[in-house]
């Protein structure tokens, strides 16, 4: 679509043309302005004693008013209102002016169209098809006709409608989402889930170890009681523990942006809370998984009593399991505390927000990519 010169420049040009008639375009502009002014003067009644000032200044004022019209319709309305309020004695002339104005405006409008046509380039070279990786090389000046509305007789309703339309467009722009916004939203949603998981896991792990120690008795002397009471809970507890540790570990990895290994390592060396929490959660994950066999053995206590649990083997099998569960509870509790000290820290979110801002530089020394 051809691009026209902005009207401000045109208004200035016209003013300049009035001031410096030596230029060619100025001469043409003068001619056209003279024509328009002659037409306007023909359309008007004879000037009253309270007539407006000399025509060139009046034209300048008119041009300036037209330039202002481009910026806002309210300005046009104000100018129109201001013009209407000039002197009560000009009622008759005003009425006639109002009647004549549409014609004058139309003629002026037509003249302005022709002016604009001349402003356009005569070079009708076809727009070059640019290759995929070349900058556009089309001409900088407009190639076709451009129609600009200069009717100064806008009603208040029309101007309001325009303002409403502009507001609607602005709101549409505001509410339009990009794919980056969707990704950010998903990431924020998962962070909320992760935050809940951190706290729930810490509480659940503490509850679990308290139950185990209460059932096992003092110095782990009543382990058969633990097996008898705890065997229905062993496998579900193990499953829930794995689920919560997985979600918490992923959330901690997100906070530290593990994919950027250099950043993660730097965070670990500087005792960054998120990095420490990631390490603690990962360690807790490995320890929990290593106890899967013992948990299954506890789960099968009623059905395979003799084969899986020979007499006297409870201490040997259950003591490591209890200690590991205690360590897991401590690890996840500590990790939760570290996360709580800086809950708003999220390096992956910063990375996602910078997706369109920074240049996508391809470095030789790539960190671990996504």
């Amino acid at each position: 679509m051809p691009i026209a010169k902005p009207k401000k420049k045109k208004a200035k040009k016209e003013v300049i043309e009035v001031d410096s008639p030596e230029e060619k375009s100025a001469e043409e502009g003068l001619e056209l302005e003279g024509l328009s002014s002659r037409r306007e003067s023909e359309s008007r009644e004879p000037l009253t004693p309270e007539a407006p000032p000399s025509p060139p200044q009046k034209k300048k004022k008119k041009k300036k008013a037209q330039a202002l019209e481009l910026e806002g319709d309210q300005a046009k309305v104000a100018n129109g209102e201001g013009a209407e309020q000039q002197g009560e004695g000009e009622e008759i002339t005003r009425r006639t002016k109002r009647r004549k104005k549409p014609r004058a405006v139309e003629m002026h409008f037509h003249n302005e169209l022709t002016v604009e046509e001349e402003e356009l380039s005569n070079d009708h070279a076809p727009i070059q098809q640019r290759s995929l990786f070349s900058a556009p090389t089309g001409p900088a000046f407009p190639m076709g006709k451009v129609f600009v509305e200069r009717n100064s007789e806008h009603t208040l309703a029309t101007s309001r409608l325009r303002v409403d339309l502009q507001l609607d467009e602005f709101m549409e722009v505001r509410t339009m989402w990009s794919t980056r916004d969707v990704a950010m939203r998903v990431h924020s949603g998962f962070r909320v889930i992760g935050l809940f998981s951190h706290g729930f896991l810490a509480g659940y792990a503490v509850w679990n170890i308290i139950v185990v120690y209460m059932l096992a008795g003092e110095q782990l002397t009543t382990l058969p009681n633990l097996l008898q009471q705890y065997h229905p809970l062993a496998y579900p507890a193990q499953s829930l523990l794995y689920l919560l540790i997985t979600i918490s570990t992923i959330s901690a990895f997100d906070r530290v942006n593990l994919a950027k290994a250099s950043m993660a390592l730097r965070g670990l060396l500087t005792m960054d809370p998120a990095a420490l929490a990631s390490v603690l959660y990962f360690a807790a994950l490995i320890l929990t998984l290593s106890q899967q066999m013992t948990s299954d053995r506890i789960h099968l206590y009623p059905t395979a009593n003799e084969t899986l649990w020979p007499p006297g083997s409870e201490q040997q099998l259950l003591r490591p399991w209890v200690v590991v569960n205690l360590v897991v509870a401590l690890l996840v509790g500590l990790a939760w505390m570290f996360i709580s000290t800086r809950p708003d820290m999220d390096y992956t979110e910063e990375f996602l927000m910078a997706m369109e801002v920074e240049d996508y530089r391809h470095d030789e020394k790539l960190d671990i990519p996504t």
Binding site: R180, V186, S239, L243, D254, L289, L308
Partner: protein, 163 residues
């Protein structure tokens, strides 16, 4: 250019498949009373893994970077996820096959050995890493720069042509 609505749908499918995978990993052992149920769950889990991999590859093919011909750039950028996906799929298939083989005739028996436990630990640990990298990659594929021409892409293209 990838539209936000389309991207939302794809992201939803990907995250749903990940969630399903996580829940099967967590709670499939509780459903082992009937081996058929566990077998069906394992099959669905492996199929969802493959689906996730296909969806990721389709998203890659949809990028402007790929359409221009810079597939090596994309593979290098996303190589960790591709390797993890393949590794996790391999671990999952091996573990599921071994476990079903052990539990098919004796559903509620103790079948654990040291080797099975080691494979179980590797598979579950790989799952966590796979979830993290897949989620991050899915979010990263929402970068608008991957779907339009830009300066860095032209530089990469010029570099590739020189090579």
């Amino acid at each position: 250019m990838l539209q936000p609505n389309n991207y939302s749908v794809v992201l939803l499918i990907q995250l749903s498949l990940l969630t399903f995978d996580l829940f099967v990993n967590s709670f499939s052992e509780l459903l082992r009373t009937s081996p058929v149920i566990q077998l069906v769950l394992f099959i669905f889990q492996d199929i969802s893994l493959l689906f996730n991999l296909f969806i990721f590859l389709l998203m890659l093919f949809n990028t402007y970077v790929f359409q221009v011909g810079l597939m090596a750039l994309l593979l290098e950028r996303f190589r960790v996820l591709i390797l993890l996906s393949v590794l996790y799929l391999l671990f999952s298939v091996c573990l599921h096959s071994w476990m079903m083989n052990l539990r098919w005739m004796r559903a509620d028996h103790f079948v654990w050995t040291d080797g099975l436990l080691a494979l179980y630990v590797f598979q579950r640990t790989a799952a966590v890493l796979y979830y993290y990298y897949y989620k991050r990659t899915a979010e990263y594929l929402g970068d608008p720069r991957l779907y339009k021409d830009s300066l860095w892409l032209r530089e990469a293209f010029a570099r590739t042509r020189q090579l």
